[in-house]
Subunit: 301 residues, 2 copies
């Protein structure tokens, strides 16, 4: 057991999954959750995944916790930190799971205390659903968790690493800046593009929404899954990771424009060359255990 | 049984699936396959999914078939039609499964005979894999198949409709032009975008391929599945459906540019408004039985 008592702030998809995993993998003796949503708190009680649940603030929980993990939307991290930190016990560890790191660190830092260590984290795992019911104990198994400590060699970094490895995750350490550009590439821009394309399809005057639904098995339905993710969280992600998102989007638009030109000029060579090089990355992702090799992801229907 | 004897030209993913389905759903007494790939022919023999297999041309098969279905890449349809049609028996039906219809009709039409009826078709089903081993008898179940007959009220259209319904497909009829713009939206442009984004990620100097692989579970891995589809087929699709593809891509770039601007100007309202409207289409796709509601498509990995 790495931490005795843990407080999760925000018991949604990720927070409730940490709670479940902490119990399933024996990573906490006592686990508390606070959430400002009444329905989330009721669901957490019903699910029985915490030793204590509180709607709104919970000074007592904060004062007991050896580890506090902020699992609220990125845009809420600052205001939550402001309220929680003054109540935390001396020597405790503060962490978060926000999908961007630079902006979260910036928001939390003004409220930090000298006797509290803040180790930002981001588990690269999740689904398109939100809320405590959508969580699961195995959410983080075989996935990577990135830690972005602001100082080198902290013992708390090692502790948090053990904690995440306890869930079956692999842990890597990088700077917040690097995290944000890497994740802009592998997560943020893919989401932005999926949201955009689904919107484009819905708005095409020449094609009805009904047609889009019927013929979605040709590829489009994959995009709609990603574009069904929580709008508030993703708005926060794009606004807080503006620079990196825009950098990757610009590269993407450049590349798309080049392929557009190849199509317009019937330059099959260029298309083929481009399409052939993307297969290798798929094979590597499957080999690394990051995706299923089954056709269509092994969907059943 | 709608057709007695069927010849499939090109026994790959789609052709071999039709062969399996024809047997499984009792839609053919005799089913022949020809394919110009030696390894595909050996696989088809090994799988035992045809009553006769021939590498290269097969005049005898063509002369016996009541239905010939061209299942070769879109760019090969014309040359295959030129060779097969002279050997077909009078009164037979010719069809195809090409992912675009305008260009295939244009390529096949010069070789048509008055005593042969050509009914183009496109089953909206498939996977990212190619070849006869990747096929399955239930590929077309609960999926849509679009027929684009060039004349109204043909009895052969009704016959082909029965044939596809026999596989558990739903059949709709539209003009080739409408098919091509609808499919550009729901299939062709999604593929082009997936190919582009995977290429962009691989080419980012600031992000290594290794990082892209490790952190792909954030959304990127979905794109790599689509971008692992057959490069030759997709080159053909984009070149043969140029106009519609470019039209949808241009709309997409416009929309992406608007969202980019919203991010740059920190206009959260616009982002939220856009992201909220895309959820409904997902719900409709799941309700229509066109996708699984399970988180992450119910992947097991
Ligand atoms: N979803 C993913 O795939 C994923 C993956 C990795 C990391 N993350 C990160 O994980 C975090 C949580 O995301 P999630 O998907 O778990 O979201 P979620 O399911 O919507 O859960 C968030 C919960 O936090 C509550 N909350 C909001 N503000 C709060 C506050 N001030 N105090 C207490 N509770 C508050 C929310 O209640 P209300 O509904 O009332 O706001 C909600 O119950 C985000 O920072 C996100 O970037 C998400
Ligand atoms: N894949 C999908 O998801 C999907 C969905 C709906 C419709 N379609 C359409 O279905 C058609 C076939 O696609 P597929 O995915 O089944 O491709 P595939 O698995 O690659 O199979 C095509 C087969 O046709 C063979 N072939 C090529 N030229 C030939 C010729 N002149 N004579 C005889 N055989 C020939 C190929 O052999 P070689 O390898 O030697 O070329 C290959 O074995 C395409 O028109 C495509 O647009 C595909």
């Amino acid at each position: 057991m790495t931490f005795n008592t843990i407080l999760i702030v925000g018991g949604g998809l990720i927070g409730s999954s940490i709670a479940r995993a902490a119990k399933a993998y024996d990573q906490a003796k006592t686990l508390y959750i606070t959430d400002n949503s009444h329905s989330a708190c009721s669901a957490i009680e019903r699910l029985g995944i915490a030793d204590g649940v509180s709607e709104g603030q919970a000074d007592y929980f904060a004062s007991q916790a050896d580890l506090v993990v902020l699992c609220v939307p990125p845009g809420r991290m600052g205001s939550v930190a402001e309220k929680i930190i003054p109540n935390m016990k001396s020597g405790a560890v503060l962490s978060d799971v926000g999908s961007i790191k630079g902006a979260v660190i910036e928001a939390v830092t003004p409220f930090l205390r000298d006797d509290i260590t803040f180790i930002p984290a981001h588990p690269i795992a999740g689904t398109e659903y939100s809320g405590p019911e959508a969580g699961s104990a195995d959410m983080f198994k075989d996935r990577w968790c990135v830690l972005t400590p602001t100082k080198k060699g902290l013992p708390e970094t090692k502790q948090l690493k053990d904690f995440w490895q306890g869930f079956g995750s692999q842990v890597s350490i990088m700077t917040p800046k690097r995290h944000d550009i890497v994740l802009a590439t592998t997560s943020h821009v893919p989401h932005l593009i999926a949201y955009t394309l689904v919107g484009t399809a819905v708005d095409m005057e020449k094609v009805t929404a009904n047609e889009v639904v019927k013929y979605s098995a040709g590829g489009f339905r994959d995009f709609t899954r990603i574009a069904a993710s929580d709008p508030v969280m993703w708005r926060d992600v794009f606004l807080s990771n503006r620079e990196a998102t825009l950098e990757v989007v610009d590269r993407f638009i450049e590349d798309l424009t080049a392929l557009k030109r190849a199509i317009r000029w019937e330059d099959g060579e260029t298309l083929l060359e481009h399409f052939a090089k993307t297969r290798d990355i798929r094979r590597r992702i499957v080999d690394a255990g990051q995706d299923s090799a089954e056709p269509n992801f092994g969907r059943h229907d």
